[in-house]
């Protein structure tokens, strides 16, 4: 009969499917753990803490989900209509003890995770300074259409589509947008944060080892959004200092006029640098008067 076939195939295929799924995911995770350039290969204290959170919460949730999934399959299969051995209990519609357990399990798990959420939300608040003996490097980030401008106010230089940072030193990032919302994200370094016109958000990150880390915008901002990839070069403090020196020796100047050029929409821009930056430039971008030829809405119409 159709039902007997279903009773045989069903659990077999479901278990196979479930197993295959688990293999796929664990294989993928194994593959990911070694190579790759994402959140699971942290290169700084923030992303390390966040990866711990991701893995720990996964394990905690799996501890609930795997037994419940198995129980679902077992119960469904055991109580199939063609099983003569199953004890049918058509009146089993309420049990105080069962209710207590099935409410308690989610409640306890959530209480535990809520504690984790509260503590980690405070520890990893983007605006919370990272502890360090050295002073933080200040970087001011402006998202434009469709590229990134990184200003180093204390060093008087700026860079487009390439962020160079020293390892082992906290980065104090201030973010804004020249036009529409974007999201500054370097997965291997840690938290992402919105960039919004007329507003300034604060983010602390740190690179603990040298490397080139993939950076992107994580919010659709128009036709050129997919090209807003930028590299984050984490180098030793000495190499950073020499990069700063070489940047100061050549290249254009960032002022109102060159900024007006930056405001013109362009995509997949090759990285370049500015050898000097007009005083207090970022503040003027935030206050929407960094360029004199702009009218009401702070950017040319697309």
């Amino acid at each position: 009969m159709a039902d007997a076939r279903a009773a045989f195939y069903f659990p077999l295929m479901r278990i196979t499917g479930q197993f295959a799924r688990m293999l796929l995911v664990s294989g993928a995770l194994a593959a990911l753990a070694g190579c790759g350039h994402g959140q699971l290969q942290p290169a700084g204290p923030v992303s390390e803490a966040e990866r711990t959170l991701l893995l720990d919460s996964t394990v905690i949730m799996l501890a609930i989900i795997v037994p419940v999934s198995i129980a679902t399959l077992v119960v469904a299969w055991w109580y199939r209509s063609s099983n003569p051995r199953a004890r049918r209990r058509p009146d089993f519609v309420y049990s105080g003890r069962v209710e207590l357990v099935i409410w308690s399990i989610p409640v306890l798990v959530i209480i535990f995770l809520a504690g984790i959420a509260w503590i980690s939300a405070h520890d990893l608040d983007p605006a919370r300074p990272l502890p360090s003996k050295t002073a933080a490097v200040n970087v001011q980030v402006v998202s434009l259409d469709w590229k990134w401008l990184f200003i180093y106010p204390n060093l008087g230089i700026a860079s487009v589509n390439r962020l160079v940072v020293p390892t082992g030193v906290p980065l104090h990032l201030e973010l804004t947008s020249a036009t529409v919302w974007n999201v500054f994200w370097v997965p291997q370094l840690g938290s992402m944060l919105y960039t919004m016109n007329g507003m300034r958000t604060t983010l602390y990150l740190e690179a603990s080892r040298p490397g080139v880390y993939y950076g992107e915008s994580a919010m659709i901002s128009g036709d050129g959004f997919s090209g807003m990839h930028f590299d984050t070069d984490a180098v030793s403090p000495e190499q950073f200092a020499s990069w700063v020196d070489s940047t100061r020796s050549a290249g254009p100047v960032l002022d109102a006029r060159s900024y007006a050029g930056l405001l013109e929409p362009s995509e997949s821009v090759k990285p370049y640098t500015y050898r000097s930056v007009q005083q207090d430039f970022f503040r003027r971008v935030v206050l929407q008067n960094a360029s004199p030829n702009l009218g009401a809405d702070a950017a040319p119409m697309r």
Partner: protein, 669 residues
């Protein structure tokens, strides 16, 4: 201003092959269908029995048809997206950004507003009055208006394919990108007016169903005797009432910015785009519970029917449902943890988001214990339910992970997030819709769907879904963000190819479902549901014939407990005759059919289209037309039709005879 506002020949996609050919193809298909219908002489029947119908069963079926058609359109968008991302590794792909952005925006908008909502509302329309033991919803003509306004919105979105363009901002138009300065075209306007028009329809549905469930039930049906599907329908419609006005207000503010130069969300003159985020997600989060709660109700019905056992923990389920209903209003900020609200605010909303997982988990356990001790039959609806339980849990798990703010700081807007919400919407809402579709199809049409093809569809959807979205979880954890038209990270590419294979498997599943429908219609005489109860149902919808007569019940049943129909069957089996004796048949008044809904929607489309293209005189025509329609409707003298007692008797006696015959053969399960 010219006579046609901004409309000109440039609005047609004459230089863009994809929208041009697909638009032409759809146009030809539509013309062919209408021609076939007209030539075969079905037009009067369709006008009389369907288009002007105010019967909740007919309206519900039409909602489901709309949803199915739009599912195909939204799915084609999905295939285009998967194809683009499979090939666009260090390559431009075949969809330039201006198109790709419209494709993913249309995909999300259509799937949420014109597939999931209509399907869920359609199933509630067909079944809730039957389960409550009454003749129709509280406001039948308003019901028809709701349906046709939803169609009007769907039509506008589809017109944007060939006349003008659609939004490019994603399915929610965040400012400042959606403001006139950065989206000067008509795309956002198409989106906003389509949603505003269909939103009015949805709001009317909320009013209709809350009134029906709270004020119109069979005698004896106290709240604690209502089927769980009706409780979830109540919770969902309460959410509609509370949330949709916020959507209307927020989109109105965006439209005022765009049309009249207001400064709600602009970058300058004091505008604040963060308000949009808060308001739109204050609607957006309850919206997903509007979708999933009725699905949970369907699972409750299906699992108890196919376990031949009442639902375990009825009161628990009710409390859990209403708790979800309330808590869903306290979690909206988890959609923008990364906006920088500060640790206290983030933590609060994160914890509230986790708390909502508690009643959801309780429901899963209750379904499990419903099967425990039952007699489980693995018909297609039951397979969908079990598949849901397994897959949805993963989606729920990833949701709880995302609710931890610092975890979200690394997952927000990544493909992991997209995989999460596809997980909960497909494995939660869509599987529930398919379970309900298969389960209640015989009630609506009088014959059962083919079981083998149904099982094939289930397996293909299940496997296809995981092959399509398992990679999403993986690439999301490899740093891939969403909505990329092209990318240059090697690790992501193979997974995007796998995902494209997954969507092809789902395509096979959809083809099988279409085949199932065609085959079932062709062989329907073999699979007739003669008694009205093909599955061994437990609630009152199965006490009617399949399909039910226009008046549903010849006399409203008296209800003494939960699962009143199951009680009736036990009594019938024990005594050898039907639980209710043949009544003294009386004529029954049913609401009169009216073209009000259809005509209102016509003027709505006219008004929406002319607002989009700035054809101001036509806007006035549309508004005046809508007002005149209301007045004409309000002026009619006869709003009911009497079904004579002989007709009532004929229909009811036929069903009673079939049931008595089945009872005597021992076949009334």
């Amino acid at each position: 201003m010219t006579l046609l506002g901004k409309l000109s020949w440039q609005a047609l996609p004459l230089t863009e092959p994809i929208p041009l050919y697909s638009g032409a193809a759809v146009g030809l298909i539509l013309v062919a269908i209408i021609a076939w219908v007209a030539i075969r002489g079905y037009l009067p029947y369709i006008w009389r029995e369907w288009i002007t119908s105010v019967d909740h069963k007919r309206i519900g079926v039409m909602y489901c048809i709309l949803a199915w058609v739009m599912l195909l359109r939204g799915f084609i968008d999905a295939m285009m997206m998967r194809a683009q991302q499979a090939v666009a590794y260090r390559a431009p792909g075949f969809l330039p950004p201006s198109h790709f952005d419209q494709v993913f925006s249309a995909h999300g908008t259509i799937m949420i507003f014109f597939v999931a909502m209509p399907f869920v509302i359609g199933l509630m329309n067909i079944i809730v009055p039957l389960q409550l033991g009454v003749r129709d919803v509280a406001f039948p003509t308003l019901n028809s208006v709701s349906f046709w306004l939803t169609c009007a919105g769907a039509l506008l979105v589809n017109i944007s394919l060939v006349v003008g363009e659609f939004a490019r901002t994603g399915w929610l138009p965040y400012p400042p990108l959606s403001e006139l300065a950065y989206s000067p075209g008509v795309g956002i306007d198409y989106y906003c007016w389509a949603i505003q028009i269909s939103g009015i329809g949805t709001l009317m549905t909320g009013i209709n169903f809350v009134t029906t469930i709270l004020k119109m039930r069979a005698p004896g049906m106290q709240y604690t005797r209502m089927p769980v599907f009706c409780w979830t329908a109540l919770a969902s419609n309460l959410l509609i009432l509370a949330a949709f006005p916020v959507l209307t207000g927020t989109l109105a503010m965006l439209l005022l910015d765009r049309y009249l130069g207001f400064h709600f969300f602009t970058n300058t003159a004091g505008g604040n785009s963060m308000i949009f985020m808060n308001l739109i997600w204050a609607w957006g989060h309850p919206e997903v519970y509007i979708l999933v709660l009725p699905a949970f109700g369907i699972y409750s019905e299906v699992v108890s029917t196919f376990s031949s056992k009442p639902l375990f923990g009825y009161r628990s389920m009710v409390y859990a449902t209403m708790a979800i209903c309330l808590i869903s209003f306290t979690v909206w900020l988890h959609h923008f943890f990364t906006m920088g609200a500060g640790a206290d605010v983030n933590a609060f909303f994160g914890i509230m988001s986790m708390i909502i997982a508690i009643p959801t988990g309780v429901k899963i356990f209750n379904w499990l214990f419903t099967m425990f001790g039952g007699t489980v039959r693995f018909k297609t609806p039951m397979l969908w339910s079990i598949g849901f339980m397994l897959s949805f849990m993963v989606g729920g798990m990833t949701g709880v992970m995302l609710a931890i703010p610092p975890a979200d700081f690394q997952l927000h807007n990544s493909v992991f997030l997209v995989a999460h919400f596809h997980n909960v919407i497909i494995a939660g809402v869509l599987f529930g819709i398919f379970a309900g579709y298969t389960y209640w199809f015989p009630k609506a049409f009088g014959f059962v769907l083919d079981e083998t093809l149904g099982k094939w569809a289930f397996w293909l959807w299940n496997i296809g879904f995981w092959v399509a979205w398992g990679p999403g979880y993986i690439t999301g954890l490899e740093g891939m963000t969403r909505r990329l038209q092209h990318y240059d990270v090697a690790e992501w590419h193979p997974w995007m190819v796998v995902a494209a294979v997954g969507v092809l498997i789902i395509l096979c599943a959809v083809i099988v479902q279409i085949a199932q429908l065609v085959v079932s219609i062709r062989t329907r005489e073999r699979r007739r549901d003669v008694t009205g109860d093909p599955w061994g149902g437990r609630n009152l919808e199965w006490a009617t014939a399949s399909p039910p007569p226009p008046f549903n019940f010849a006399v409203l049943p008296n209800v003494h407990d939960q699962e009143p129909y199951w009680d009736m069957k036990i009594y019938a089996r024990e005594t050898g005759h039907l639980a209710t004796p043949e009544p003294d048949y009386q004529p029954i008044a049913v609401p009169r059919n009216t073209p009000t809904g259809f005509v209102t929607a016509f003027f709505a489309v006219l008004t929406g289209f002319s607002l989009i293209w700035h054809i101001w005189w036509l806007v006035m025509v549309g508004l005046v037309g809508a007002y005149v329609t209301f007045v004409v409707f309000a002026w009619r003298d006869h709003d009911e039709v009497m079904i004579p007692a002989e007709e009532v008797a004929r229909l009811d006696r036929a069903n009673r005879a079939a049931r008595t015959a089945a009872l005597q053969q021992g076949a009334l399960a």
